[in-house]
């Protein structure tokens, strides 16, 4: 069984792992809004946000190089738009696009890296995200690895019999779809056998305590300072 790296990280024992999921999500949202709405990114802004994200990663005891590398997955997307801005002659906007998207991706990675999926889903539910959507995510996450493993096995089987060509790959996709469909039926049957009647009942999520609220308060103060620090009246 292949272990997803994020899954491995999320089961660590950093300071951030212990904090309540809802509080972490709220802080992430606050940080994302702050980053997105910062009008002109100065070097000080970027440094402030970057240090915050890196410090959070360190508090979560995540391997920094790996976080920085993985956050780069957004770059192909944002770089495309940045290139358009650059061609239009707006180099500052291009830089801001790349930097903002990269910082946001790193922040999201830190959250996902310090919160196991089960707790993340429960926290999202607490924040009124529709349960149906969360169930879809939950099943996707649960069975994604199985399906990709099945695909690997099929590739190996094809290779061992002489080759892996495009036509074969197309057939394999169809085959995987059928198998996934059959598995979905199996899962549904297993749910029915244990009394599923259309509604998923869950255990109550653990509640945030005073440390979580303190953490939220400090975090919000920090994010506000980062966002408005350069514009505060006393610096004008």
């Amino acid at each position: 069984m292949h272990h997803a790296v994020l899954d491995h990280w999320s089961r660590g024992r950093g300071v951030l792992h212990a904090r309540d999921g809802q509080v972490k999500i709220l802080l992430l949202i606050a940080l994302l809004i702050a980053v997105a709405t910062t009008p002109r990114l100065t070097a000080a802004n970027v440094a402030g946000y970057a240090i915050t994200v890196l410090a959070a990663a360190a508090l979560a005891r995540l391997p920094l190089p790996a976080v920085l590398l993985r956050a780069a997955v957004v770059l192909p997307f944002s770089a495309t738009f940045a290139a358009v801005s650059l061609l239009a002659g707006d180099s500052q906007r291009a830089a801001a696009l790349v930097l903002k998207s990269y910082l946001s991706a790193a922040a999201v990675l830190v959250l996902v890296g310090c919160t196991p999926l089960a707790r993340l889903l429960r926290a999202l539910e607490g924040l009124r995200v529709p349960r149906f959507l969360l169930l879809v995510v939950q099943f996707l996450y649960r069975y994604l690895f199985l399906i990709s493993e099945q695909a690997q096995h099929m590739r190996l089987a094809a290779l061992s019999r002489g080759g892996w060509r495009f036509r074969l790959a197309a057939g394999a996709v169809a085959n995987l779809f059928v198998r996934s469909y059959a598995r979905a039926e199996g899962v549904h049957r297993a749910m029915l056998a244990r009394g599923f009647q259309g509604e998923t009942v869950l255990l109550a999520a653990p509640r945030a305590d005073w440390r979580d609220w303190l953490f939220l308060l400090c975090g919000l103060v920090l994010v506000t300072a980062l966002r408005f620090g350069g514009e505060a009246p006393w610096t004008r």
Binding site: L121, G186, V187, R189, A193
Partner: protein
């Protein structure tokens, strides 16, 4: 004493017309453990899927005195705990504890009671150390036992296990046998694993072409159908 399971002339065809059950009669009494033997495709799994109403064919079928029909399904599913052949399909919640709580919560237990039932079931099968793990981090043997715990937490009167030793190494099989021996429920074991069947069952039924063609002592059934390969020629 009334039988726990009473099946009379059960018939079932799949949508494509394949006749899967062709008049099955079967009785199970409290405390019994019965091995369901027979070739692949002979109707064993189709039969056990009827026992808690996942499939419904023609004929009479009652569980603990309840007719297996739509209005009784929640009660029947509480009585019959079905452990599927593929544990991956049975463990669909993000953590072991949440998965084992799934059944009790569906039964309408309060969260605290469901939690207590789940913890007890995990202790019974000896995997309480894994309660916070994700299912995909478990070994095949652990998955099987967690799947069993998920069913035990619903406090069934009958346990039905479909090919429970698939993918288990010998220590895993032994551990499963020990767990099952300690459980008081009546058990139905669909299996090709004769070592496993001998460790738990005295009675066996033999399926062929959708019918039970023999119901009797395990060793006699094995002998009649030449089903035992332990005396096969060795090199």
């Amino acid at each position: 004493m009334d039988p726990l399971i009473d099946v009379r002339d059960l018939r079932f065809s799949y949508e494509d017309g394949t006749l899967a059950l062709d008049g099955v009669d079967f009785l199970l009494h409290a405390g019994e453990t019965v091995a369901l033997l027979g070739p692949n495709g002979s109707g064993k799994t189709t039969f056990v899927l009827h026992l808690n109403g996942l499939l419904s064919g023609e004929g009479r079928l009652s569980v603990c005195g309840l007719e297996v029909e739509k209005r009784n399904l929640p009660a029947v599913r509480r009585k019959v705990g079905l452990v599927f052949q593929d544990a991956e399909e049975q463990l669909f919640m993000p953590s072991v504890l949440e998965d084992v709580c799934y059944g009790p919560l569906n039964l309408g237990l309060a969260p605290a009671e469901a939690l207590a039932a789940a913890e007890k079931a995990l202790r019974q099968v000896g995997v309480d150390y894994a309660r916070d793990k994700a299912p995909y981090h478990l070994s095949a043997g652990e998955k099987r036992r967690v799947a069993l715990a998920g069913v035990l937490a619903m406090q069934p009167e009958i346990l039905v296990l479909d090919e429970p030793t698939t993918n288990l190494d010998p220590p895993g099989r032994l551990a499963l046998v020990e767990v099952l021996r300690a459980l008081p429920q009546a058990k139905l074991l669909v299996t090709h694993d004769l070592w496993f069947a001998r460790a738990l069952a005295r009675r066996a039924v033999f399926f062929e072409h959708g019918r039970i063609v023999r119901d009797g002592a395990l060793e006699e059934v094995l002998a009649q159908f030449h089903w035992d390969l332990s005396s096969a020629p060795t090199r």
